[in-house]
Symmetry: C2
Subunit: 383 residues, 2 copies
């Protein structure tokens, strides 16, 4: 029998069968009424998920392409920007902003720390303001979900634009584009939006449109103004990933049928279940033990176990795919993603696999407790 | 019954059922051995289709993203470049190069004309050379397939790098990346590669690598150097469109199983069949009546018929999707694409639909001759 695979990486994430079916439908032309209907519905549904009355631009690219678009459309070489950074994806903002010639001030935390609004407010005071503050909502490399509402308020108080990497958070944890005054929010199809990778989405506020730089670094593919003009006619500037859009349309329908608040609650309970199981095994959490950590559970590998070897062994022996640690956390932590199409029994599968494999690798852990603890935590808690 | 659709647009093109099936498989992680095996095979197969021993980079983007990568990696603001332009996509090269600050000399033809190597050689002599010559292999907007071999030789004689837009030609008509000394060839997944849109491919020659500008305009997502480093480990820099890559792998397998030469011959015969049918109806061709025009057949709408109305009516009444004229050809021509997954009976369907609808719209055309003429031309000619 072909080995089954269980995908627990924090992106790409499993795609529901309804969406897989949609991906296998015959190709449609992107300049046809068939497409315009689907594309228009996608844009409406995205605005609902983003909770915005503003524009949501769609690019055929990874999430990083969406991030680049925010940097290249909102900044000019020499602009002072602040990057709030506490992990791999925070550092990507800094690299992108430096690549595009910004004068980057990094409010940098150790990987795994939670940025605070007070620190940002103080830094902005010291600097006398900044044009843009770049932040990360869910830092996928550590499992930390930042208080973007607080960070955004601090940035707006200082007169800065707020740009948010919400690639792994949008649709999984609460995010209010308009109510929190977020100027650009970047996400991707392959996380809580339950679709294959290949599409980046970027919301743009009225203030951000006002700040778009005509004389900045050259940009063409990721130019916001062209994208908006063409999307207004449901006629994308460049051939989009039509199959992925057809799938995304179905996936967004599933997400909105569940209800955004219900999806947020489900993710919070998945996080609780995962943390309860991990602790019942006697392992230590790396990501915070709080309800905001609903996206990725990061766990410290027990003494004597290399987390990379654990991930490799789980993959090879059980078909269970977790994520290893990145950067300074390589070898030290492993990450269980539960973003999107997951329920309680996905969590118990991941935990049972971890328990078995750690035991086989010789770690001293508690056997037989994790699955029960996880189900208890999932069933008997409400957010 | 749900209305059937017949897709004859020159991209996206129909996708074989084997590829549609592959698209609907469960998502795999892009940093796993499952993925590395598929990605490695895709890269090998792409090199075979490109006929190159050099690198073929893969980007999650439309073909335009691949075009932008060639401009941003090979030029600096102020560089003199020549753009050979005879239609919509030639003009895109000029726009891109100007956006990135190049001093653009356009060797510009009317839409539908065929560029010649002599014209290019003369222009390069007048200019005293250029850093890069940008060309279009198959100008999808007109159906003209240019003599890229000759154009490349003229450019190389003048010491310029040669960049080719082969988005709608690669895999359909002969293209020899190494033998013709092409420095960068841009293509896409959604034409003769018989996959959904969402992936751009770019070959890079040794000379092109040597010319990559470190201090050019800022670039990050489309940076060639990073893409090469990461592809060497089958570990893409950014989350790629994994489902589309899984499909592309299957599609490239089908193309290579047919054989490249056999695919080129099939496309030439499809072009002959389409032209024979169109002429049998009494219509005039817009694209050249020669064997190189094997990708798109462009046809002049008969007197009194707006080609946009014809395309719309065919779509609404018959479910047959052709492409209208673009730019200066709007309303004047219609285009029948036959790139990729097509056989003779696709051509007869398109022709039968055109014949019926033109007749309904009141055009004076010959009835009952096109299908037979097309099948005769397809069956009884060899390239």
């Amino acid at each position: 029998m072909a080995e089954k695979r269980y995908l627990f990486t924090p992106g790409p994430t499993p795609v529901p069968p309804e969406v897989l079916e949609a991906l296998s439908r015959p190709i449609i032309h992107h300049r046809s009424s068939d497409f315009r209907e689907i594309f228009g519905r996608c844009l409406d549904r995205l605005a609902e998920v983003y909770r915005t009355k503003g524009d949501v631009l769609v690019y055929t690219s990874s999430g990083t392409g969406g991030m680049e678009s925010a940097v290249s459309n909102l900044t000019r070489p020499g602009d002072r920007v602040v990057v709030v950074s506490a992990g791999h994806f925070g550092e990507r903002w800094a690299t992108l902003a430096r690549t595009f010639g910004c004068e980057v001030d990094e409010l940098r935390y150790d990987w795994g720390e939670s940025p605070t609004a007070d620190d940002l407010a103080e830094r902005l005071r010291e600097l006398g303001g900044a044009k843009v503050v770049f932040t990360t909502h869910s830092e996928t490399s550590t499992g930390v979900v930042a208080d973007v509402q607080g960070l955004a308020a601090a940035a707006k108080d200082a007169g800065a634009l707020v740009v948010v990497d919400a690639v792994s958070s949008l649709g999984a944890v609460p995010l209010e584009t308009d109510a929190w005054s977020l100027d650009a929010v970047v996400s991707g199809s392959q996380k809580a939006l339950m679709s294959p990778p290949g599409l980046a989405t970027v919301s743009v506020s009225a203030a951000a449109w006002h700040a778009v730089e005509a004389d900045s670094s050259p940009r063409y593919y990721f130019d916001w103004t062209r994208a908006r003009e063409r999307q207004a006619a449901f006629d994308p500037a460049f051939t989009p990933a039509v199959s992925t859009l057809v799938g995304l349309d179905v996936a967004l329908g599933l997400l909105l049928a569940e209800g955004l608040e219900q999806a947020f609650e489900r993710h919070a309970r998945l996080g609780r279940a995962c943390r309860a199981g991990v602790k019942a095994m006697g392992l230590d959490l790396f990501s915070p033990d709080d309800d905001r950590s609903a996206v990725v559970t990061a766990v410290i590998a027990p003494d004597g176990i290399d987390s990379g070897e654990l991930v490799q062994t789980l993959r090879d022996r059980q078909g269970i795919v977790l994520a290893p640690g990145q950067g300074p956390l390589k070898g030290k932590i492993f990450r269980i993603g539960h973003i999107g199409y997951y329920d309680a029994f996905d969590i118990t599968t991941a935990l049972a696999g971890v328990e078995l494999t750690l035991s086989e690798l010789g770690a001293e852990i508690e056997r037989g407790a994790a699955v029960t603890a996880a189900l208890e935590a999932f069933e008997h808690t409400r957010v």
